[in-house]
Structure formats: C-alpha cells, structure tokens
C-alpha cells in the first residue's frame, strides 16, 4: 500500500477543487480514499484528492504548496510524515502508524457493545478513552486510511453517553459544557453552552444541524474529521439533540466525505443506536455556503446563500424550528465532554481556552495537513507538527482567508489561541495556518486570495458584490505595479469595514486585506517603484483553480 498517497492527513489540502456546481447528492468519492492513486485518478477524471499539485493547479509554482510529496512517499517506514511521532502522539514510537490494527478494524460488531450501560454525563470515565492529556483526542491515534467503524469507535471512546430526557440532565450537561468552556470550532468561537441553552429554552421542538460544509478552500480539518471519526461527530449531534430537545439532526457534510458519513449513519441505524433521526445532506461546495443561515437555506431550499433573518436561528431556523447549528468539530468535542466531563476536557489547552483543536497547516511547511494540537501551543510548535517550515518564512496567514496576516517571526513564540494571538490582531478562526515563504510576495498572494473571495460573494448584497470586486481590482493593480495610489483602496476599506453585508463575507475579506497592508507595507513601497520582492511564482497560498483566469 502506498500510504503516502492515502495519507488522510493531507486530504483536502491536496484535493482537486471540485466542481463549482453544488452536487447533491454527491458522486461516490470513496474511490478517492482508495489505495491506488492511479485508480481513483482515472475513475474520477477530476484527480480526486491528493498528491499531484501540478495537475491540480495547472502551474508548477503550486508545487511549493504540497511540499515534496516524493520525499514523503520515499520513506514510509521512517515515519517521515511525522518526525518524532512519540512526542506528538504521546506514545512510543513503536506504536507507529497503525496502532493495533486488529483492534482498530477487527471488531465491527457494534451490537456487542452498544448495549452497555451508559454513564451519567460529566462523570469521569477512566475505563475508556484516551488519557486526558494525550492527543489526538478526536482523530484516530496513528495512521489509518479508512473511517473508524462503529465497533472500533465504541471500543476506543466508550459507549455513547446515556441521554437523559429530563430538564435536570440537560441543565447539568450544559453546565458541564460551560465549565469546559467549549467554544465553537467553526471560526467564530462562540461559547457552545450559550448556544445550547438558547436553543433549549426556545420552548418548541428544535432541530440540530451539524455543519461540516467547510467551504474555506484551504481548510481540511472538518473533512478529515468526518472521514476518520464520523461516529464521534454523530455522537455529538445526538448529544446536542438531546440537550436542545430535537428529534432530528441534519449532518451537512462536504460532498467529498458525505458518503462516509452516510455509511456511518447507516451503521448506527442497523445497530439501533440512536433514538433521533440522523440525516446526511451533501454540502454546497461554496465559500459562503458554510455560514449558518446559508446552511439552513441550503438544506431547506437548495440555495447555498445566507438569508437575512429577522429572528435568530436559535428561535426560528430550519423549517421554522429553533435550530442549533454547530460545527462538526465542536460536536465531536461535545461528545467527549459528555463522556468524560469538563475536567478531562480542560486537561489540555489554556485556562481560558481549554481543550484541543484541529488545525490545517498549509503553504510552506514540510508536511501540510490536518493535525490536532493543544490550544495555546506556540505557533512555532504548531508548525512543527507539520515538520516545520519548508524554508525561510516571511508571514503567516492565521485563521484562514478571513484571517489575519502576521509577521512569521513575531508570531512564532505566541501561543496559538485567541488570547495569545490578540497581540497581533489575529484569531485562531477555524484553525488554519498558511505559511508564506520568504521568496513569495505577500501582496501578490493577497491580491489572488481577495480576487477569489470577491468571486465567492453570494451576489446578494451591493457592498459585497461591488465593493470586494473594487478592492480586489485595486490590489491587483498594486501587485502588478500598475498603481501606487493607496487612497482609494483605503477609502473602500473604510466603507466596507464592518456590517455591510447580510453575512460576514465582506467583513472577513476586508479584515484580511487590512492586515496584509500592514504586514506587507514594505512590499507596497517596492511595488510602487516597480519592483517586487517575490522570486517564487505566485500561487503559494492556494485558491481553487476556477478563480484563476
């Protein structure tokens, strides 16, 4: 088996950008996860996931992005993927990639364990699950190329927590979530307990939406989580449904992984595990499609665009019901808090931001991919998870395309947490770090990303449609050396700064642009004189191919 190409940690980073047209239901993509690259590349005709960066972006420069795939393939046994696996995984190196493969895939009979008595929520469970301070918590420990089956899932994490229907149980578990200080992992970081309480108190039959849309093009953590540990997310959805009084949860999964999730749901149905209805909807593959109201709009009407709702979704959302929209990673954490309690959850992370989080490390790092880190790990150590920078860096884009450009040296020692990054005006967002190599021009990259984001506007609000296009055009002129007038750009940035759209698309884009103008100030001067600092070809920070004309 060529493990490098099936390396799920690099999934999504190395994906071919799928069809822009929303596909529902999605074409089976299991092939993309299969072992022989030739197989799936041939049969999908789109290149599927993985490994040929050149093919993907149609330009050699993009090779810097998925760095040295050959190297990675070359030395499988050495754990080339993860130098010092023991350090990272907190387990002996001998554990290697597939810890106890028999255990992992051997027992697929859920019925045997499903009948076990559950535990009270919030009670520490030392019989199951990993030690509190050991990572990864969410992802399977070690390398695996297939989703964790129900039997293995239950063996590893313990039976799904007993769900009480009564108010006291709900209050206690929501209090536990509050104690755990679990915050949304979709990017906004909203306290989960408050959201749960809001929907629970709506007083009508609620509905849960597990948001695995992950429209952010360089983020892969939700796809990897859904592909590897679908049952943990489903556990969380079931727990959330019990907490808010819902009898249905809709899992909106990126089309690349929705079949895996659907298979997991079918597995649970056969085992008669859950009392609520679980439904899988392939997500719209668009940037703004992941916004909460857009997800609701997509499920209900097939339109992946945000809606202007006078009322909050927690009061009136999907099908008019009180709706809890939670990111899938948040739900996975919720499933663990329900099993092991807040103290267990707080064993890693910082006091104000406890727990672990999934991060997607991209750009000029040696092994781009999805990793699980303790919140508060220094930015340098976070990049170290991916083997460290693949060369000298100049800047980092932290938090994704709605994130913040920061000087890489200034960020290196800061804790990767919302609190720690505040000094640089950055936030962890959905856990994305893209590293810009020193020989690439940040201004050129910013112009490309902004053009992409302008094109991803849902096209509903004037300031977003016209404003982002204008800003992108101005950035392109600056990047090309065709203009040096910052006044107009700054004027538009001022007009678009906050609250000008039905959703936060313009706000997020403008925030990123503002940080670029600060961090790449020196480049601005160079470009004004007709120079560019970049020697590498543009395309280090990837945007989907369709946006590059």
């Amino acid at each position: 088996m060529n493990w490098a190409t099936t390396d799920q940690h690099s999934l999504g980073l190395a994906q071919d950008w799928p069809n822009r047209e929303p596909r529902r239901p999605g074409r089976p993509v299991r092939g993309a996860w299969a072992t022989e690259p030739g197989q799936w590349q041939g049969d999908t005709g789109r290149g599927g996931w993985a490994s040929e960066p050149d093919q993907r972006h149609g330009e050699p420069a993009a090779g810097g992005w998925a760095s040295e795939p050959d190297q990675r393939r070359g030395e499988p046994a050495a754990g080339g993927w993860a130098s010092e696996p023991d350090q990272r995984r907190g387990q002996p190196a001998a554990g290697g990639w597939a810890t106890e493969p028999d255990q992992r895939h051997g027992d697929q009979s859920p019925g045997r364990r499903a009948g076990r008595p559950g535990r009270r929520p919030g009670t520490a469970d030392h019989g199951h699950g990993r030690p509190a301070d050991r990572l990864p918590r969410l992802l399977p420990d070690g390398f695996t190329d297939e989703p964790t089956g129900l039997g293995q899932h239950l063996a590893e994490h313990g039976p799904i927590p007993a769900l009480g229907g009564h108010q006291r149980w709900r209050d206690e578990l929501i209090a536990e979530v509050e104690l755990a200080r679990l915050a949304g992992r979709g990017g906004a970081g909203f306290p989960t307990a408050r959201k749960l309480a809001a929907v629970a108190s709506a007083g009508r039959r609620a509905i849960v939406v597990a948001n695995g849309t992950e429209g952010e093009p360089i983020s892969a953590k939700d796809k990897v989580l859904l592909a590897q540990a679908p049952h943990l997310v489903l556990d969380g959805a079931v727990v959330a449904a019990a907490l808010v009084g819902a009898n249905e949860a809709v899992i909106v999964a990126h089309p690349a992984v929705s079949d895996i999730v659907a298979a997991a749901v079918a597995e649970r149905r056969r085992a008669r595990l859950d009392r609520i209805r679980l439904r899988v909807v392939p997500a719209a593959d668009q940037f703004v499609g992941g916004e909460a109201s857009a997800v609701v709009n997509w499920i209900e009407r097939g339109v992946p665009k945000p809606i202007a709702t006078p009322q909050r979704l927690s009061v009136r959302g999907l099908y008019g019901r009180p709706t809890l929209v939670q990111n899938v990673e948040t739900l996975a954490h919720l499933a663990l808090i329900a099993r092991h309690g807040a103290d267990w959850f707080r064993a890693v992370g910082t006091a104000s931001e406890p727990g672990s989080m999934l991060v997607t490390l991209a750009g000029a790092v040696r092994y781009p991919g999805v990793y699980e880190i303790a919140i508060g790990t220094s930015v340098a150590d976070v990049l170290g998870q991916a083997g460290g920078p693949s060369g000298p860096l100049s800047a980092l884009l932290i938090g994704g395309y709605f994130g913040t450009w920061v000087d890489s040296a200034a960020a290196a020692t800061l804790p990767f947490s919302t609190e720690g990054l505040r000094a640089l005006g950055a936030h962890v967002g959905a856990g994305l770090v893209a590293a810009l190599p020193a020989d690439a021009c940040g201004l050129v990259e910013t112009a490309r990303v902004t053009r992409y984001l302008a094109g991803e506007s849902a096209g509903q609000c004037g300031p977003c449609v016209f404003g982002l296009d204008a800003v992108a055009g101005q950035l392109e002129r600056l990047a090309d050396g065709r203009g040096d007038d910052l006044r107009l750009l700054n004027r538009w940035i001022g007009q678009l700064r906050s609250g000008r759209g039905g959703c936060k698309h313009p706000d997020g884009t403008i925030g990123m642009v503002r940080s670029a103008l600060t961090v790449f100030n020196a480049e601005l001067d160079l470009h004004a004189q007709g120079w560019c600092c970049g020697t590498a070809e543009a395309g280090v920070i990837p945007v989907p191919a369709w946006s590059q004309s």
């Binding site: 945000p306 202007a308 509903q460 609000c461 004037g462 300031p463 977003c464 000008r500």
Partner: protein, 71 residues
Amino acid sequence: MTARTGHGTRLRVNMIACDGRGLCAEVLPELITLDDWGFPIIAEGAVPPELQGQAGEAVRLCPKLALRLER
C-alpha cells in the same frame, strides 16, 4: 404597550433586500450616507429623538422595504 419614545431605536438595513435606490440617504442624510456604489451606510448608535420623524419617513419610503427601525 408603552408609547415608543424613540429612545434606543436603531436603523437597520437588510442588505440582501437593499437595491441601492438611495432614498433613505436623501431623507436622512444625518444618519445615512451612501458608499461609492450607492448603498447606504448607517451611522452607528441609536436614532436621536429629534430625527425620529425623518427616520420613520426613510423607512416608509424605502421601495424595497429594506430599512427598519429596531428597538
């Protein structure tokens, strides 16, 4: 129901519905300006009592029903 004094009311525009007709900015230039593409930028904060009448007028005049006064 207590009578609305207008204290604490805010103007809100539904940007998805807004078409940039610009009537609101003509009626209430004190609180509403237009950006370079003709879409309204609403001043932050509550509508002062002396502008309540104009604000209500702006809301009524919006052909797209995109402007609202919220408490």
